[in-house]
Amino acid sequence: MSLAQRMAIENPHITAVAVEATEFPDLVRRYRINGVPKTVVDDRVEILGSLPEPDFVRSVLAERLPKDA
């Protein structure tokens, strides 16, 4: 959650939600959560596990960055 919330601090368009998986089985089913931490961006991009900052930021922004960025 740390890097996601740091991204939210940086940009007013970004929201970061930590979801306690065991308490929300409906969301776990909807996003097919098989392990944690799992990050879901805009219901499309999925990131499994923890990543170092540069990789996490690029993965979260995968669909927003120009291909050569």
Binding site: I9, E10, Y31, T39, R64
Partner: protein
């Protein structure tokens, strides 16, 4: 009875020392059918007791539907971490917690308070440049477990 040991409470006070702005935790609860809402309230009470800069507000998810929607809180317990002064919201950076912030998530919440109080992400210049290019809503959900 406190959820935290005396040593943990002391450590929490240290972590929350020197916050630069007031932080308000908006706690959305359900009066019925929310097993973890009472525990969540106690956790938020511990945080509010640990720093004069931290306060929390209880909002009934059913009665305060509009505010729940405004903050994008679909269920309880849910928490929005915002900057506020004298009860007036100054800044909502969009940080939310769904579920009781216990175990590992407790530290995430403490960190969220520190981040919202300072307004500094601590990310590298390269990351910040990439993030600054986002011009449309981007919703990040991080699924976690308490341990």
């Amino acid at each position: 009875m406190s959820l935290l040991s005396v040593a943990d409470r002391e450590q929490l006070r240290t972590l929350l020392t020197g916050l630069e702005h007031d932080v308000r935790l908006l706690f959305f609860f359900r009066a019925i059918g929310c097993e973890l809402c009472p525990d969540t309230k106690r956790i938020l009470q511990e945080l509010a007791e640990a720093s004069p800069r931290v306060s929390f507000e209880e909002l009934n998810l059913v009665l305060e539907k509009d505010r729940a929607q405004q903050y994008g809180i679909p269920d309880a317990p849910g928490i929005a971490v915002v900057r506020a002064a004298n009860g007036v919201q100054e800044w909502d950076p969009g940080i939310r917690f769904l579920g009781a912030p216990a175990g590992y998530e407790f530290m995430s919440l403490v960190e969220a308070i520190q981040l919202v109080a300072s307004g500094r992400s601590g990310l590298s210049d390269e990351s910040r440049a990439l993030i600054a290019a986002v011009t449309e809503p981007l919703h990040i959900q991080v699924f976690v477990t308490p341990t």
